[in-house]
């Protein structure tokens, strides 16, 4: 009787091990919470050393950092737009102002890159707002989708 019980316990432990090992092997390569990163860095590639003023014909040199943690390859497009205090932009709606520059990157899951950005804002504006929007290329390679991530740098264009 006791011998049978011990046998059943040994069998149960082995079956549990089988289930554990197989589940580990079968778990697909993926991410639990997919997300993309976008960051704007100053001319020295540091966060926070952004220029505050720029002349109308001057060039603003910054860097855009992109990181892919979406669990799949993505074609990112960063639209740089020039707006002001009245410009509306949020996670669902991109700013309805002209694009002044566009930067692109193709990243596999886990990859990141830093892209140098040079912008000539033009036209004096005391409270200009440089808006960086993250867009992604659709899987058909034909259509851009707003990814809902955006950043801004306030500048005084003299």
């Amino acid at each position: 009787m006791i011998e049978e019980e011990v046998g059943v316990v040994a069998l149960a432990m082995t079956v549990a091990s089988v289930a554990l090992v197989i589940s580990q092997v079968l778990v697909p390569r993926g991410v639990v919470e997919p997300f993309s990163e976008i960051g704007v860095l100053g001319p020295n590639m540091m966060v926070g050393d952004y220029p505050r003023t720029v002349s109308a014909n001057g060039t603003l040199n910054l860097f855009v950092y992109l990181g892919n943690h979406e669990g799949r390859i993505l074609y990112y497009v960063v639209h740089v737009k020039l707006g002001d205090e009245a410009t509306l932009v949020d996670d669902a709606t991109p700013a309805d102002v002209p694009v002044v520059a566009t930067y692109e990157a193709i990243l596999a899951n886990g990859q990141s890159c830093t892209i140098p950005v040079s912008i000539t804002p033009g036209g004096p504006n005391g409270h200009a707002r440089l808006i960086f929007e993250l867009w992604v290329m659709g899987e058909d390679g034909m259509e851009l989708e707003y990814h809902g991530r955006w950043l801004q740098v306030w500048i005084d264009i003299t």
């Binding site: 046998g7 092997v25 079968l26 991109p94 990157a105 040079s118 259509e143």
Partner: protein, 143 residues
């Protein structure tokens, strides 16, 4: 999410050479997306394609015509290299999937065999060890 067609916007700001290469890069990107869905690893191909894309961007702002042509040519070469690697990536993915199936079957079989052996010999081994652990004991009988 908001979607917009990409072609008209780029048409207005890019020269023909840039656009050709960029269109090709987008086509290759679509192929890479498909390959990844089939299990192909993307790190190297994506890095190369991104390099080609950055070269096109550089060419786009370059004022030196010869440097611009050289950049576009190199971008095209890299893009072609990535495109050529897609079938190999797919093959590797297929091989990896097959190897994983074989591994799962092998591990499952080994563990099932282990379970049967444990069921048959487990009690014998357990009690054998139990007896050995208590081999030196004296049992006193009290009436």
């Amino acid at each position: 999410m908001l979607g917009v067609a990409i072609a008209p916007k780029y048409h207005s700001v890019m020269a023909d050479g840039d656009e050709d290469v960029e269109a090709r890069i987008r086509t290759i990107y679509v192929r890479l997306v498909d390959a990844e869905k089939n299990g192909a690893r993307m790190e190297e191909a994506a890095a190369k394609l991104n390099t080609a894309l950055q070269m096109v961007s550089e060419a786009h702002i370059s004022v030196n015509q010869s440097a611009r042509s050289a950049l576009l040519l190199e971008a095209q070469r890299i893009a072609a290299e990535v495109e050529a690697s897609v079938p190999e990536l797919m093959r590797e993915a297929e091989n990896e999937a097959e190897a994983r199936t074989v591994l799962i079957i092998a591990v499952s079989s080994a563990l099932v065999a282990g379970a049967v052996l444990a069921y048959i010999y487990g009690p014998r081994i357990f009690w054998g060890l139990w007896l050995r652990a208590r081999a030196g004991w004296w049992v006193e009988r009290r009436d």
